[in-house]
């Protein structure tokens, strides 16, 4: 069970799960016994709107940091997701084909995108943000976006 850091901006409550790391592009990255699971943060799924299509790259795709990890098409935007790590996609979340809304409904759980066999985790993890750092960054960004409205 994940625990969360939470902030309220306008009418939105944004959560950051504390059991994983993050990118400044709002992906979460979770180490799981030699594999790494990746998904979208609560902030980016809420601010991007309802997901119409979630299309990670296929299994066995080799990734280097910055390579396309997949694409998310929402009612507002198309997000091309850069991979935060190096490795090979071992599994794509099969539920997303029929239920892409899982990314919105359960971003830190059932709405995960891919499971990756990492090749250099120690190097990759050094570039990721801990939950507290991501929370501060996300909160500042959410407040800035809110002030534009």
């Amino acid at each position: 069970m994940s625990e969360f850091l939470e902030t309220t901006v306008e009418k939105f409550i944004f959560k950051v799960a504390t059991d994983r790391l993050y990118t400044d592009g709002h992906l979460w990255v979770k180490w799981e016994d030699g594999l790494v699971r990746i998904g979208l943060s609560d902030y980016i799924q809420q601010s991007s709107g309802d997901v119409a299509f979630a299309e990670p790259e296929p299994e066995r795709t080799e990734l280097a940091p910055g390579d396309d990890l997949g694409c998310i098409e929402t009612i507002k935007v198309n997000l091309v997701l850069p991979s935060p790590i190096s490795g090979v996609i071992k599994e794509v979340n099969p539920a997303l084909e029929d239920r892409p809304e899982l990314v919105n409904q359960d971003p830190y759980g059932e709405g995960w995108l891919v499971l990756v066999e990492v090749t250099d985790w120690e190097a990759d993890r050094a570039k990721l943000l801990d939950p507290e750092s991501y929370f501060k960054m996300m909160k500042a960004e959410a407040e800035e976006e809110s002030s534009k409205l």
């Binding site: 309802d50 119409a52 299509f53 009612i75 409904q105």
Partner: protein
């Protein structure tokens, strides 16, 4: 079936939202062009206000709810009002079946949005026909 035999169409009232506009355009097309004698558009805002006359109609008539987003306000308000949704349409689901028809615009939909509204209207017409025949949708 309702007292006048019509299916009530309750579209999303998400003013300022593209997908809400698609839902409303589809509802108008259904009621005014495709099935003018069988379908009638009613206002979600009246239900939210607790209008007794509309609540009574919702409780005794088949209702098609047309939701513009995951909040599903139209479907929820039917249930809140003591009615039963005979068919629930969601604009996003229709878009998923017609991916090239990406809607844009709010007061005036782009051509793709208008086409998506027509696809949704056809879906609603089929549902209306089944409900009118007494079939489960």
């Amino acid at each position: 079936m309702s007292e006048n035999g019509r299916v009530l169409i309750l579209p999303c009232s998400g003013i300022g939202k593209t997908y809400g506009t698609v839902g409303r355009e589809a509802a108008y097309s259904l009621a005014e062009e495709l099935r003018p004698g069988s379908a009638e558009v009613v206002a979600l805002s009246l239900l939210v206000m607790g209008d007794e006359e509309l609540r009574a109609r919702v409780q005794t008539s088949p209702v098609i709810a047309v939701d513009g987003c995951k909040l599903a306000c139209a479907s929820k308000m039917v249930a809140e009002s003591g009615g039963r949704v005979a068919y629930e349409a969601n604009v996003l689901d229709t878009f998923r079946r017609h991916r090239t028809l990406r809607p844009k615009g709010i007061s005036r939909l782009n051509p793709e949005g208008q086409e998506l509204a027509q696809e949704l209207a056809q879906e609603l017409a089929q549902a209306t026909d089944k409900i009118t025949r007494g079939e489960e949708v």
